[in-house]
Amino acid sequence: MSLTPEPPAGDRTDSIARDVHAAITAGGLNGLPTLAAIIDRVATLHGKPIRLEQVGDAEWGSLTGLWVETPAVSRIFTRRTDPVAYQVVCALHEVMHILLNHPSCLPTISELGLSLPPGARRARNAGSAFISRVQASYESEAEFGARVLAQALLHGLEDPVERRFG
């Protein structure tokens, strides 16, 4: 849930990196060029549509992403007021939770004191509060994966038009 969980030991970082890379490779996410393509692929693996919703809620505080599971659809929320580059990482964080099939951290979410939709399963918290060591491990995996995927989405400093006209 936190970006900066308790600093893990080096071997734990290696293990997170290994597990996450293995999951990304097994899921066929390597080389997918857009966030849309990644979410679409994970929806296939998950066997359920994924709905990406850009919402705005000042009461969210330090919560920057949310995964809500319903019988018919998985919902991922990001804050529409956040910069696009940041929202992409927040969305990918929740996508990684789905890909890695992480368990719900509802008791932890409830400690945030927010009224969240029924089915709220995991949340990305920009702060470091409300996090146990076990939850930190899940969050570290999701965040690590989100950043690996986000970096792979960078097309370089030129867009296709600039490559031709620039």
Binding site: A43, S62, Y86, A126, R147, L154
Partner: protein, 319 residues
């Protein structure tokens, strides 16, 4: 008008020379580099740099230079349109055979124009009351307007400064073609001579300003890209020097590029701001915003900032 033609030539020639080294190393940029070169060559044949007589003499002195000039203009605009179309996956492709026909077709009526043996700068204006001359001009102007329209359409959803300038230039070329066609048609049917000076002057103004504007669009793209490439290492250095890098998690992947490194850093900083653990001054915030805009540009994601949207991914796009 000679000044405007000279300025247009200079703008095209400079854009060509400045971008030439890039065309050697980057294949995708070649179409527009060649396009500006061909465009410069087309303007060169107008006779403002070297007298037309000298250029037309090796071709026989029968004003064949005019046909070469219009063909070069069509090829130059087509190269620009082709570059824009290949950059836009939703744009309809232009069949090269159709383009070749568009370039070659005006030559048939051109060769049927009854002409004198001397090079004449106003060759077309002097002969426009001949049906083949009018037909030649009409085919050329129609092709020019069509290709410029395709260029405009390929850029229609692009809101970059360079795209706006290129669209403005393409629109000017279409308008200029319509004006010139109107001018020639009036002359053909009313048998008025000499040419309607107002329409002719308007065509020249709109056309050459359009070409200049389009070239400035290319210059804008080149400058924007160069500025961005110059900024990334400096922004990264500035944010790191400000001690903001310390807020990054230890569980973070290796960044394969400076841009990737900047991305990781901005996410960490943004996390710090959202959680209230980090406070940035105005200068640092401006730097952060600039970094986030550069990254968003590189991501090319349909996500927006400030607008509530809902997108459903069903997995059907994935085989």
């Amino acid at each position: 008008m000679a000044v405007l033609q000279t300025v247009t030539f200079a703008v095209l020639a400079i854009a060509f020379l400045v971008r030439l080294p890039r065309a050697i190393t980057h294949r995708e940029g070649r179409l527009t580099v060649i396009g500006t070169g061909v465009g410069a060559l087309a303007i060169f044949t107008l006779g403002t740099i070297v007298p037309q007589e000298q250029l037309d003499a090796p071709l026989g002195g029968h004003n064949l230079l005019k046909l070469i000039q219009t063909s070069l203009a069509l090829i130059a605009v087509w190269l620009g349109a082709q570059a824009a179309i290949t950059a836009n996956p939703t744009a309809r492709r232009m069949n090269p055979i159709n383009v070749a026909i568009m370039v070659a077709l005006p030559a048939i009526p051109f060769l049927l124009i009854q002409r004198t043996d001397s090079t004449d700068k106003h060759f077309l204006d002097q002969n426009i009351r001949q049906l083949p001359a009018w037909l030649y001009a009409s085919l050329y102007l129609a092709a020019l307007a069509y290709i410029a329209t395709r260029l405009f359409v390929a850029f229609r959803r692009n809101r970059a400064l360079g795209a706006w300038l290129i669209k403005l230039g393409a629109a000017a070329i279409v308008i200029a073609s319509i004006i010139e066609q109107t001018n020639f048609t009036i002359q053909l049917f009313t048998r008025r001579a000499p040419t309607a000076p107002l329409l002719s002057t308007t065509f020249n103004l709109v056309f050459y300003l359009g070409v200049c504007t389009m070239t400035l669009g290319i210059v804008a793209y080149t400058s924007t890209r160069a500025i961005r490439q110059w900024q990334v290492p400096r922004i990264l250095q500035r944010l790191q020097n400000d001690g903001l890098a310390g807020s990054q998690s230890e569980t973070r992947p290796h960044a394969p590029s400076q841009l990737g490194e900047l991305y990781l850093l901005t996410v960490a900083i943004r996390d710090g701001i959202v959680s209230g653990e980090l406070q940035l001054d105005h200068r640092q915030l401006r730097t952060l915003h600039r970094a986030e805009r550069i990254i968003a540009h590189s991501l090319d994601e349909p996500l927006t900032e400030g607008h509530p949207t809902i997108t459903v991914y069903t997995g059907k796009a994935t085989p």
